[in-house]
Subunit: 105 residues, 2 copies
DNA sequence: CAAATAATTCGACAATCATCAAACTATTCG
DNA sequence: CGAATAGTTTGATGATTGTCGAATTATTTG
């Protein structure tokens, strides 16, 4: 399945996997960091890019690049709200690949 | 998890994914091809490299390279029997990554 | 032992790709 | 409007990596 290949490629870079994990973990309800002021997710399951950047050390352009790869693979979805772009995980795509992995034969 | 990263890297190449699928599909009971004589798996769940090579078009050295990557990632296991090396899938490793993918938060 | 089959090792080469800086667009706010 | 914040676009560059051919090792068999 070609869809699975794209997802594997998207998750095959350490920085990109960190971004992925950040979006997943930070999108929850309790992930606010009072020290840095980062990760002030306004709703469950969505994070602003600027908050991701706080936790994954890379330049803005690199982050944009990685997000494009993740989005093209169908792993995440983005929508802009005012100045910020919010990101969230597409669970369905992940579930499909997970079943592909486990599926015998 | 660093283990997951390695597995994603291993499956992020189209040729390697083809090898993976070949081992999985061909390792079954009924995959013998009377035309080419390929894929004469002697036991369920194991395939000889020469049979994989029949189905995935690449040079022997390339195949060896890909198998090393897959083995280092823990996806497959190999053992030599006489002239041939047999390969089989390590289901446990795949199951672990599958649950990593689905796992929310 | 010699020949044949199966697989590995080694180098080299081409292509892909992650990264960044700089310049730019988009949006809010004073 | 002008300043500030948030992201994107566009090269360029350095590193990684997939591929192969040639030489080599391992094993069986005549």
């Amino acid at each position: 399945m070609d869809e699975a290949l794209k997802i594997f490629q998207a998750l095959s870079d350490s920085t990109r996997l960190a971004v992925f994990q950040c979006i997943r973990g930070c999108g929850g309800e309790t992930a606010y960091d009072t020290e840095t002021g980062c990760c002030d997710a306004t709703e469950p399951g969505a994070v602003a890019l600027c908050d991701v950047k706080c936790q994954v050390p890379c330049s803005p352009s690199t982050l944009t690049h990685h997000l494009n790869v993740l989005r093209d693979a169908g792993i995440i979805e983005t929508d802009r709200r005012g100045r910020q772009v919010y990101v969230q995980i597409n669970g369905a795509a992940l579930a499909k690949v997970a079943s592909f992995l486990v599926n015998t034969k």
